[in-house]
């Protein structure tokens, strides 16, 4: 039978001819040296920490230090406190940042530079100076506000069982990372077209936000949450100077009496952080390949 061919024929070959690598390869000794040195520098402390925790004075091997972690006084409460702070911070920072990031993309692009500056400021200000300011406010507040309802607020902010003031501070610290991650996520999905399409189909604004934008932002929100959690779980400066027993502060406190346990906890908390970050990066990779 006869066949007809379209005007422009294109060949779909199993991969176009690679273009690079024409010249004979020079031996790249320097690269090997660099990589080996880097591996030594980065791996030795990790291995050594582990060895340190399982070493027994007479030269044996024991995982006792890890067992002692759970028995140590304050472990449970401080870890729970840090996790609780982390979750509260995530909820608050997302509630604040997501609407702002969407609004800047859709309604008020002029406010974008303002938001960017606001979200960069916490990077410029070292946490220790931030905590210096906070502690002054907390110290002076009661004197000036003793007769007003704010007094009660200031006191309750510092409730040692659940210090709201830490949540507020952590939200500020997390802001730059969360905003960037959300902004990148919004950039990837073309919010404008999506929301216009949804509006065109009769959706209300809250509906657009809840049913269209948030589902598409799931991975960006997840990565923002993970980063925030990692930040809160590791934050030491503010918690210590405001004298709250969060997890990192607790590790520091026990180091004086039980060196091996404190290193064991460090290794342990490292593993947790790493698993979080690895989960995050592989989730990100899945998202990329999926879209």
């Amino acid at each position: 039978m006869a066949s007809l061919t379209p005007q422009v024929t294109t060949q779909v070959s199993p991969g176009t001819a690679p273009r690079r690598g024409g010249r004979p390869r020079r031996p790249r000794v320097w690269r090997g040296v660099v990589l080996v040195l880097a591996a030594v520098y980065f791996l030795v402390p990790l291995i050594a920490s582990f060895v340190f925790t399982v070493k027994v004075p007479d030269g044996g091997f024991s995982l006792d230090a890890y067992g002692q972690i759970f028995a140590a006084e304050g472990f449970g409460t401080s870890l729970l406190l840090s996790l609780g702070l982390g979750i509260a911070t995530i909820v608050l920072v997302l509630l604040l940042t997501l609407p702002a990031a969407v609004a800047v993309r859709l309604g008020a692009p002029r406010l974008r530079p303002v938001l960017e500056v606001v979200c960069t400021l916490p990077l410029v200000v070292p946490p220790i100076t931030f905590v210096a300011g906070i502690s002054m406010v907390l110290r002076w507040g009661p004197d000036y506000l003793a007769s007003t309802p704010f007094y009660q607020t200031i006191i309750s902010l510092q409730n040692p069982d659940f210090p709201v003031v830490l949540v507020l501070a952590y939200v500020v610290l997390a802001l730059p990372f969360v905003y960037r991650s959300l902004d990148a996520g919004l950039g990837a999905i073309d919010v404008r077209t999506l929301s216009e399409a949804a509006r065109n189909l009769g959706a209300s604004w809250p509906h657009v936000l809840l049913r269209v934008i948030i589902p598409n932002m799931r991975s960006a929100m997840a990565s923002a949450s993970f980063l925030t959690l990692a930040l809160v779980l590791g934050e030491f400066t503010i918690a210590r100077l405001l004298s709250f027993q969060t997890f990192p502060v607790w590790i520091y406190t026990i180091s004086g009496s039980q060196a091996q346990v404190s290193v064991a906890v460090s290794v342990f908390s490292l593993l947790i952080t790493w698993l979080l970050l690895l989960a995050l990066s592989s989730a990100g990779a899945r998202q990329r390949s999926g879209s």
Binding site: V124, I128, T237, I251, Y252, T273, W274
Partner: protein, 264 residues
């Protein structure tokens, strides 16, 4: 927007109080705190912080770039992925656990110290150089993360176009490669400076107060380890820090913008 209101209250108020406190001494306006924060032990601490941050930034910048170049030019995709993931993790590895990991390694009774008998040769981790070594542990990965996209952004066409115009490899790097990479490299160095400058947890857990650092001084002052009437010096020191960090960031942002434009 609620976000702006939130930042103004939670972030702005402490900053205002900080500013106010700095210029108040015994209830009246005064620059005495600021002057004091730039004298004696405080000045030493400030200089110490700047010195170690600059050293970490430069060393970390150079070493991180070399590592990044080694990874980028490698043919093995898996190696590249592994190094980038590890960098992402290590760059976030700061604070107390980092200090303890190094103490367990190279501290006085650390595994490597005792195994190699470094103690007898006068080795100590708890000084300026030890701290630098530890800071580099999160700085180098951070530099790798900043520089790899820039190295990837160097298009092969540029090298070929340069060759085609008669340039040697050296001339390519001098007229095109290095100028194109400079903003990204400097941007990374600035970030490292900021990170090392603001670091407190690692230093506190590792060296206590044997190395003079401004963050440690501020913490000391806030915990009440100062003479009566000098509490506000901590605030003045904080202001000094913010000014330095602000200057550094002011360098970073334009660099970053330019780099993004060139390497898009």
């Amino acid at each position: 927007m609620p976000l702006l209101a939130f930042v103004v209250i939670v972030f702005g108020v402490p900053m205002l109080v900080l500013l106010g406190g700095t210029f108040t001494k015994e209830g009246t306006f005064s620059t005495a705190n600021l002057t004091e924060s730039l004298q004696g032990a405080y000045l030493t601490a400030l200089i110490g912080s700047v010195k170690i941050s600059a050293l970490v930034a430069v060393l970390g910048g150079v070493l991180g770039t070399i590592l990044a170049q080694a990874v980028v030019t490698s043919r093995f995709r898996a190696l590249r992925e592994a190094v980038l993931t590890a960098s992402g993790v290590l760059a976030n590895f700061g604070g107390v656990p980092l200090a303890f990991a190094w103490i367990a390694t190279l501290g006085n009774s650390g595994v490597v110290t005792t195994t190699l008998g470094l103690g007898e040769h006068g080795w100590s981790l708890y000084n300026f150089w030890g701290l630098t070594l530890v800071y580099l542990y999160f700085s180098i990965p951070l530099q790798v993360l900043t520089v790899v996209p820039a190295l990837d952004g160097l298009r092969p066409q540029w090298r070929e176009a340069a060759q085609n115009n008669g340039a040697s490899t050296w001339q390519f790097w001098r007229y095109v490669g290095v100028p194109v990479l400079t903003p990204a490299l400097l941007g990374g160095v600035v970030l490292l400076f900021g990170g090392a400058f603001a670091a407190y947890a690692t230093a506190q857990a590792m060296v206590g107060s044997t190395v003079p650092l401004v963050t440690l001084k501020i913490a000391d002052a806030l915990s009440g380890n100062v003479l009566i009437g000098h509490e506000n010096v901590a605030l003045a020191l904080s202001l000094d820090m913010i000014v330095i960090a602000g200057l550094v960031m002011a360098v970073y942002l334009p660099l970053q913008r330019r780099s993004a434009r060139w390497l898009r």
